[in-house]
């Protein structure tokens, strides 16, 4: 599953991010394998998408959300509450 396929408020974990030719800045901002992401909002025309990635709130454009693989976290949210 790609990052763009997440539904609003759905949680997932980033995988295989290191093998991709993604901008270095993305990794520096905390977008590395194993980090949890939640989709918060979508812009009016679909992209950019706005996520919580680790401790940061980051908006990402189409070219990036199409690339990044994620694995959804099943019921992760319920357990914590």
């Amino acid at each position: 599953m790609k990052l763009k396929d997440l539904k609003k408020h759905q949680k997932a974990v980033i995988v295989n991010c290191q093998e991709k030719q993604l901008p270095l800045k993305l990794m520096e901002m905390g977008c590395v394998d194993g980090v949890e992401v939640t989709l918060i909002n979508k812009a009016p025309l679909g992209t950019p998408l706005y996520f919580i990635i680790g401790d940061s709130r980051i908006a990402l454009g189409k070219e990036i959300v199409n690339e990044i693989d994620v694995e959804p976290v099943k019921n992760g949210a319920e357990k914590k509450v």
């Binding site: 800045k25 520096e28 706005y50 680790g54 940061s56 980051i58």
Partner: protein, 701 residues
């Protein structure tokens, strides 16, 4: 202990960490703003003294996520640390308590450059609310550097902890960073067996990480690298391999930091309020978000135009009174005329725009401070993309409605160099405040004061249409440029969405001050210089000009109402107007308008005062007098009235498009470091102005 010490400390941190607030708190108003050589990013330094007399010089560097720059602002940090580093004794890293992990990446990079480092964790007032606990002593021990929790926001209000946000303690702690030898970690990352092996022996005395950055970021240094580190610039460069190594480096650093934070940083996620996310649900809503954005922008412009007129009138009246007063007390000679008509009128022509520019940047920086500007970027990005612009282009385009000079400078935050260039090239089309006086008088002259459909004022509608024309031309040109200009790098959109927070008055004040200063001293000095040159050209001339006073009847015979207007016709400027008359004839203009077009190169609004002089209207403040005079003016070429509907529309179009502002061209030169773009913009805009004005006049006459 007796001898006084001096340290030069660089202040570095991620964007949105409150770094500048902290800088302002530390240095008060003792700061100095200069420029970095070659570029115009502000170099801000400040001073303060410690209790033992140690003098600290603090340099505020632009916010950056790492030492791998993606924008012009961020390049400054890298260059300052690598090339100009001689002066810097140590680095004070500012981190945000909410984002410690990411902030430590930057800290580690700086440590690897061999600098003594201290860490200030800002916004500690929010810790309790967010359920964050930090073991400062342990963190300090693991990082091997002094660490302190501070709050730039809280002064006395939240007094229960430690008074004034611990700013004083933080100052006193600075010398501690020099006590322990600085540690470097990069050498142990095991990135061997690669290019790094070649680099190390080339300059064995330098920290390896510095050489590595010089090598990997070599395109940012240009000639400086070749002269200072020739051996590095000669090495082969495999972009893909290097990128993989850089990614490895980041992963290594995160592993390191995760280990450290595991022992020192604890967050109870159930305490998170999610307030920012809840506000975003409304402000970024698909439909309401756009409505709210349009409503905010509308209110901002409404406020600017209704509030700014008061100080503008005040400036206008004060300066003409000052001039009138000076003319009565000073001897009637050339020097007085130069002072009043050239210098003081020039300065007045600059200051008249300060109220509008101040208000616009006040609103922009308030929205920025509160975190809303990032949302604007988020909302608008996809709309701007087809035009080769980014969401971040909204700021220069909006600022362009005040003045193109600070607007073009504000494009620096756009990472992608192609999007930045296009944003800068199209911003001059936006209707800046200097066009308004020209629009106002011509609209009043040729557009009837009538209501359309019972409630829409026709004159207002035309003014709105001109704003729209400027904006749509900017987009259209951007669309064309997007097809022509080739980009080295792929476009990508990464934007941090900062937390919403109340604005800090001091930060807003300083941002506004910086922008107004950029206008007054950047654009202003060119406007004043042009005013002086134009004054000279208008008050000096050939034989006829010099003899004007002797032959009193001559000017009346040639149809002039007074000596002034006769002299202007025969001045150098008048001759220039006559020279260009054949060129501007198809636009419906005569040499008198030609003079006004030429003087507009000082600043567009000079058009109005020039016409006042040509048409011999003594009092330039009296718009009505000028309007009546213009309405009756006859074109000597056609024998008909000069300011017909056709000429009016032709002039409006000419002023909407023509590149008549030398300050804008000079700013473009500074920002792009080449005359190529300003020259292209000049010919493109002026060409478009000419053609559309010809078309309008010929079709409508």
């Amino acid at each position: 202990m007796a001898q006084k010490k001096k340290y030069k400390i660089a202040l570095i941190g991620n964007p949105n960490t409150g770094k500048t607030s902290l800088f302002n708190k530390l240095t008060g108003l003792h700061k100095k703003i200069g420029n970095y050589p070659g570029i115009t990013v502000n170099r801000v330094t400040g001073h303060f003294t410690l209790d033992d007399g140690t003098a600290i010089e603090l340099i505020d560097l632009p916010g950056t996520y790492s030492l791998h720059p993606t924008s012009k602002d961020e390049e400054v940090v890298l260059k300052e640390l690598l090339i100009n580093r001689e002066g810097i004794d140590g680095v004070l890293v500012v981190a945000d308590v909410n984002n410690l992990k990411r902030n430590l990446i930057l800290l580690k990079e700086i440590q690897d450059l061999g600098f003594p480092v201290m860490l200030a964790i800002n916004m500690c007032d929010e810790m309790q609310k967010k359920g964050i606990k930090i073991d400062v002593d342990k963190l300090s021990e693991l990082l091997q550097i002094p660490v302190i929790l501070v709050s730039a926001k809280k002064s006395k209000a939240n007094g229960q902890k430690s008074g004034k946000g611990r700013i004083h303690e933080m100052k006193e702690m600075i010398p501690q960073m020099f006590k322990k030898p600085s540690k470097r970690y990069f050498e142990n990352y095991g990135l061997t067996g690669t290019n790094i092996d070649f680099i190390k022996p080339l300059y064995p005395d330098e920290p390896l990480y510095k050489l590595w950055l010089l090598y990997t970021e070599q395109d940012k240094f240009g000639n400086e690298l070749q002269t200072k580190y020739p051996a590095i610039s000669d090495l082969p460069f495999d972009r893909n391999l290097i990128k993989r190594l850089l990614q490895k480096e980041v992963i290594k650093r995160y592993k390191d930091i995760n280990r450290i934070l595991k022992e020192t940083y604890h967050i109870d996620k159930s305490q998170a309020t999610g307030l920012t996310e809840r506000i975003d649900r409304v402000l970024l809503h698909k439909v309401w978000g756009i409505f709210i954005f349009i409503f905010i922008m509308f209110s901002v412009f409404q406020a600017i135009y209704s509030w700014a007129t008061i100080p503008m009138d005040w400036i206008d009246v004060s300066f003409s009174q000052l001039n009138a007063y000076l003319k009565t007390v000073l001897p009637d000679n050339q020097l007085t005329a130069l002072l009043t008509e050239g210098v003081i009128s020039g300065i007045a022509g600059v200051l008249i725009f300060v109220p509008q520019i101040t208000l616009l940047f006040l609103f922009i920086s308030l929205l920025e401070e509160m975190g809303y500007m990032s949302r604007v970027v988020f909302l608008m990005d996809r709309f701007m993309q087809p035009f080769g612009l980014s969401g971040k282009s909204v700021v220069p385009l909006l600022s362009g409605t005040a003045c193109a000079v600070p607007a073009i400078m504000s494009a620096r935050t756009i990472e992608n160099s192609k999007e930045r260039l296009i944003s800068m090239l199209v911003t001059p089309f936006m209707t800046c405040s200097a066009r308004l006086p020209v629009y106002t008088i011509i609209i009043a002259l040729v557009i009837p004061q009538k209501d359309m459909a019972g409630f829409i004022n026709l004159q207002g509608l035309v003014l709105f249409a001109l704003y729209f024309l400027g904006f749509s031309s900017a987009l259209l040109l951007a669309f064309g440029l997007n097809k022509i200009i080739k980009s080295k790098y792929k476009r990508y959109f990464i934007l941090e969405m900062p937390e919403y927070k109340p604005p800090i008055a001091k930060n807003v004040f300083i941002t506004v001050w910086d922008h107004v200063k950029a206008f007054v001293f950047g654009a202003g000095k060119i406007i004043v210089a042009f005013s002086i040159i134009l004054w000279f050209l208008a008050t000096h001339g050939g034989e006829k000009f010099q003899n004007a006073g002797n032959n009193f009847t001559q000017y009346q015979e040639s149809g002039h109402l007074n000596l002034e207007s006769y002299k202007l016709e025969h001045s150098y400027l008048g001759q220039m107007g006559k020279t260009i008359e054949p060129v501007i004839k198809p636009l419906g203009y005569d040499w008198k308008i030609g003079i006004a077009l030429l003087t507009s190169f000082a600043a567009r609004e000079v058009f109005v005062s020039t016409l006042s002089t040509i048409y011999s209207v003594g009092n330039t403040d009296d718009d009505q007098g000028l309007r009546d005079r213009m309405a009756n003016e006859k074109n000597h070429l056609t024998g008909k009235k000069t300011f017909t509907f056709a000429t009016g529309i032709s002039l409006l179009l000419f002023y909407a498009f023509a590149m008549q502002c030398f300050s804008t061209l000079a700013t473009l030169r500074n920002e792009t470091k080449t005359w190529k773009w300003p020259v292209i913009v000049f010919f493109y805009m002026t060409g478009l102005a000419y053609l559309s004005a010809v078309a309008a006049y010929q079709l409508l006459k």
